[in-house]
């Protein structure tokens, strides 16, 4: 398996001591030339997912590994902990405290797992066994490595661990089952399991990807605390350049199974030498940028790992690729500062010319749409929502169903969208934004309030009228995997709305081709099935379908959140371009405030079925007045290490309250950072009266917040 060279063997002997002879602490985990391949079978070609990755972490150090999906970052970490499936072929060397791990049998490896090296996985939803209580699962982790510990003692330790990771009332809640916990709580349990035996290395595989920003901020805090507690080295694997910026010491960027740039955070972020890293950094919409400039999309898709081109794997997508790039894969070489290495033959050029992303990537200007020059009041209203409410019964139990309460999913929502305008609707999952969309799109009579589309009230439409209104309102969904019928060809998918609305056959054909071109896809691809497209392309097909009937209003339900950042940028740019060209209005629902800042004209922030703050993008992002908006903005990590280190994050306490039992008065007060510092007298207002959505800041005409104590300084 591993070919340990003579020097490595010598090193191994030295690492028996805590410190090497030169005073530098030896690495806890050392990965050398790791190569993982999955042999193919029955017509499938073999895949080499990781091709020569090396890294090391020392005690107390945090290493970030960044890459998009398919870059091999997760596979390399699974290899380190010995959890790859049996048929995976692993080469190279993985050493823990100098001891070679590759080739150990399952029993020996099991003694290391969870004891010396442990792991936190991405998806807390499926990561815990559904049939055991969380307490049992934490206690199991304790007992498996200390069999002599009594059951009671293990449970006591489990409660301690759960308390440590911030589970309130752990004594009682340890008896809960995983499904009774929220995503953030489950992730805390996973961390508790990971630190149960004071490991020396914790590998975190996208630990916050599935979580909301405010919860992400909490989990990152817990991880930091866990590290302080155990002094462990942490390997942080993520696709989010923001998460890594403020947290890690060193960063490694992976692409197509290889490291393409490594170094200290500052080197990689500020002195980027590899075009791919530049593209990654440039494609992230920034919360800290006022100026609207188009994002940098990296064209094309990552290469398929089954048949890799001989040269630099990034060359086909690289704007500054030259012929020499195709000659051979560039080695990872020293560029600039110590430890800063990049795999690009033009790295020297980049350095000497001090090129930045904007120099490397050609950026197209986005045409400004003429409507945006007209003042808002003078534009027609496309969508008006007044006092919309949606309550649905809360059922418990799959077998013995019963109603245990009412979920106030949407509770009195009012906003409007004018022609050529984009309203961003943001909030954490469970805040009711999706329910709002479905209420609007169903065009049925809402339970309360009114929905008016292009002046027509949706409850009062005849079937025929409703059918006609559907032309004007179309939707693009979040998941490009499930929003296209996998059994249909692309042509049929885009033609479906046209057929439904009775277009003539020959017109359908030309229209479909026209739409394909509009969204930047090749017309000849219409005979293929959705599975043959990448995520970004599928999302473009979804957009083409939505545009088929020339709608006035496009409802976008998290259209880019399932895409990799480099792809996401392309789709956002496309949406902006289409809006300008076709004069569309967007209702853009997202949880990512930086995306919204980039694309929206106005923003509405939702919390528990209500809008807590609404207004134009400039005002809200520059001067948020509602404590929740502030917390949301503060929780988003910036892909800028300097700023990130200086920032004070507001970390909200706890989870979203149960929407079936919202707090009295102001719904946000239970988590509100402002409420916490109010005097007892002032608090009573929050408890007793529900704040109205009112203009509170003078000078900002289009900004309203629902808070008794909204920040209005500077205006009074």
């Amino acid at each position: 398996m591993s070919a340990t060279s003579g020097t490595a063997a010598a090193e191994q002997e030295q690492t028996g001591a805590a410190r090497g002879p030169d005073g530098v602490e030896p690495p806890v985990l050392e990965v050398r030339d790791l190569e993982v391949s999955f042999p193919g079978g029955r017509g499938n070609a073999g895949v080499t997912a990781v091709r020569g990755v090396s890294y090391e972490v020392r005690r107390g150090e945090i290493l970030g590994i960044v890459g998009e999906s398919g870059s091999g970052k997760s596979v390399s970490s699974l290899a380190a902990i010995g959890l790859l499936p049996d048929y995976a072929q692993v080469k190279g060397s993985i050493r823990l405290h100098g001891e070679e791990l590759l080739g150990l049998d399952d029993r020996t490896m099991a003694r290391k797992r969870g004891h010396a090296i442990s792991m936190v996985f991405q998806d807390p939803l499926s990561g815990l066994t559904p049939v055991y209580t969380v307490g049992d699962q934490v206690a199991e982790a304790v007992r498996v490595h200390n069999p002599q510990i009594s059951r009671a003692a293990a449970h006591k330790r489990a409660v301690e661990l759960l308390t440590l990771v911030g589970i309130p009332d752990a004594e009682r809640r340890q008896r809960s089952f995983p499904h009774e916990f929220s995503g953030g709580m489950r992730q805390r349990v996973m961390i508790a399991i990971a630190i149960a035996n004071d490991p020396d290395v914790i590998i975190c595989d996208e630990p916050t990807t599935a979580l909301d920003v405010t919860i992400q901020a909490q989990i990152l805090e817990v991880l930091k605390a866990a590290q302080r507690e155990t002094g462990a080295a942490i390997v942080m694997i993520t696709h989010d350049l923001g998460v890594v910026a403020g947290l890690v010491d060193r960063v490694q960027v992976m692409y197509a199974g290889r490291l393409v740039e490594t170094g200290t955070v500052d080197d990689v972020y500020y002195r980027t030498r590899m075009p791919y890293t530049m593209g990654l950094l440039g494609s992230v919409p920034r919360l800290d940028q006022d100026e609207k400039s188009p994002l940098i999309p990296i064209k094309g898709n990552p290469p398929s790992l089954t048949d890799m081109p001989p040269g630099c794997p990034f060359a086909p997508r690289c704007p500054i690729a030259v012929e020499a790039c195709d000659a051979g894969e560039p080695p990872l070489e020293q560029v600039g500062g110590e430890g800063h290495r990049a795999a690009c033959i033009r790295a020297g050029e980049i350095e000497s010319n001090s090129w930045t992303a904007h120099d490397v990537y050609p950026v197209s200007e986005i045409a400004h749409d003429p409507v945006s020059q007209v003042p808002r009041e003078d534009r027609g209203t496309v969508l008006r929502v007044e006092g919309l409410a949606k309550h649905h019964p809360l059922m418990r139990g799959a077998l013995f169903k019963r109603r245990v309460g009412t979920v106030y999913a949407v509770d009195g929502l009012s906003f409007d969208i004018r022609e050529g305008e984009t309203l961003g609707l943001v909030g954490e999952s469970g805040c009711g934004k999706s329910s709002t969309l479905m209420e609007i799109l169903s065009l049925d009579k809402p339970q309360q309030g009114t929905v008016e589309v292009l002046g027509k009230e949706s409850g009062r439409l005849s079937n025929r009228e409703r059918f006609d209104v559907r032309r004007d309102v179309q939707v693009v969904f979040q998941d490009p995997m499930s929003s296209l019928d996998p059994r249909m060809r692309v042509f049929e998918i885009i033609a479906e709305p046209l057929r439904t609305h009775g277009y003539a056959k020959d017109r359908i054909r030309s229209r479909v081709l026209e739409l394909m071109e509009l969204v930047g896809l090749d017309g000849s691809a219409v005979t293929r099935s959705p599975a043959e497209f990448s995520g970004g392309q599928r999302q473009r097909i979804g957009i083409a379908r939505a545009l088929a009937l020339e709608p006035k209003l496009l409802v976008l339900d998290e259209p880019v959140s399932a895409l990799d950042v480099s792809i996401q940028a392309g789709v956002i740019n496309l949406l902006e371009e289409l809006k300008a060209r076709l004069g569309l209005s967007y209702l853009f629902v997202a949880h990512d405030l930086s995306v919204v800042r980039h694309i929206a004209d106005r923003v509405a922030v939702m919390y528990l079925g209500k809008i807590v703050e609404i207004g134009d993008v400039q005002s809200i992002y520059r001067r948020p007045t509602h404590p929740y908006t502030k917390a949301l903005l503060s929780a988003i990590p910036l892909p800028d290490p300097e700023k990130e280190r200086r920032r004070e994050h507001i970390v909200l306490q706890g989870d979203l309250p149960n929407p079936a039992d919202p707090p009295s008065g102001c719904r946000f007060r239970t988590r509100c950072q402002k409420f916490a510092v109010l005097s007892e007298d002032d608090r009573s207002a929050c408890r007793e009266r529900e704040p109205e959505l009112r203009h509170r800041v003078e000078g900002a005409a289009d900004q309203a917040a629902a808070c008794h104590y909204a920040d209005t300084e500077g205006s009074r």
Binding site: S442, F467, D485, S529
Partner: protein, 300 residues
């Protein structure tokens, strides 16, 4: 049906697409060894069942008065029965009927199950409760008993009635599965998208929901083929199945089992063929499940 109309309208321009879809499916299936082996066996049996009688020197009703209960000979390949009839010829005719019964019953079963399940799961509410209640009722009724009572009365109507009866008593479990699938498919975004563009409910069921569980339906239809054949055998054993002059493998087994020890050729040939047939069908079903069903991601 709107589905077929739709097809017709698009054939001119989409002919290539449709064939592309099916050919890719076929390719996938042929890559699964079990499916290929199973299909080969089934095709072999079908050929045997229809060509065999032509090769046999004896007629179906013909009696050989020189050979009662004769073991297999060059003249009577599978021997003869109590009345001197040629067992080979009878077995082949029985095989024909068993294959037909299996295929037809599975087809009807799957159609009923798909419609009931899809409508119940799509509309939910009252439709669902009513349909599921009926399904439960059918589940509670002992199918064997109902068939045994009803079929003798309807036997004059021919074997197709028997097939329909079989189908009426076999669809429930599949319908429940289809319902479950529909409920989850219904929330898929492409179904929502179709709804929000104004596609009618019936058409959504036919165009989006049923095609997307075609793998489940195909697999289940295959399994129903073998269930129908086996159920028919059991009924025939007690004399409640297909009635003379029709013969099936089941009725032959029933007759042969009473003298399995004394005249084994009357029992083991038809039994062997039945087992091979069902085995082959199950093999295809199992292979199809692996090839088509993304949920059983088991084998690589």
């Amino acid at each position: 049906m709107s589905l077929s109309a739709e097809r017709e309208a698009t054939t001119s321009e989409a002919a290539a697409e449709i064939s592309g879809r099916w050919s890719s499916l076929a390719k996938e299936l042929l890559a699964t060894r079990r499916v290929v082996i199973g299909l080969a066996i089934i095709l072999g049996l079908i050929a045997m069942a229809w060509i065999g009688p032509m090769l046999s020197p004896w007629g179906f009703d013909e009696r050989d008065f020189t050979a009662f209960r004769s073991p297999p000979t060059a003249d009577h390949w599978f021997g003869t029965g109590n009345t001197g009839r040629d067992v080979f010829h009878m077995t082949m005719v029985g095989l024909q009927k068993s294959i037909l019964i299996g295929l037809c019953a599975a087809l009807f079963t799957t159609v009923i199950a798909a419609l009931v399940g899809a409508f119940a799961g799509y509309y939910l509410g009252f439709t669902d409760r009513a349909l599921m209640w009926v399904t439960d009722l059918f589940l509670v009724l002992p199918q064997f008993l109902i068939l045994a009572i009803l079929y003798p009365v309807l036997r004059d109507q021919g074997w197709l009635v028997f097939v329909l009866l079989l189908a009426c008593l076999m669809w429930m479990v599949t319908a429940k599965m289809v319902r479950g699938m529909t409920i989850s498919l219904k929330e898929r975004e492409y179904v929502l998208a179709a709804r929000y563009m104004g596609v009618s409910h019936g058409r959504i069921i036919l165009r989006h929901i049923l095609p997307n569980m075609s793998s489940l339906l195909i697999v289940d239809a295959t399994i129903n083929v073998s269930s129908a054949i086996i159920l028919e055998t059991a009924l025939s054993y007690f004399g409640f199945g297909i009635q003379p002059p029709d013969v099936t493998l089941g009725s032959l087994i029933a007759e042969g089992s009473r003298q399995a020890l004394a005249f084994p050729w009357t029992f083991w040939f038809c039994t062997g063929l039945l087992i091979v047939l069902v085995l082959a069908v199950n093999l295809v079903g199992d292979g199809l499940r692996d090839a088509l069903d993304p949920h059983s991601k088991s084998r690589t």
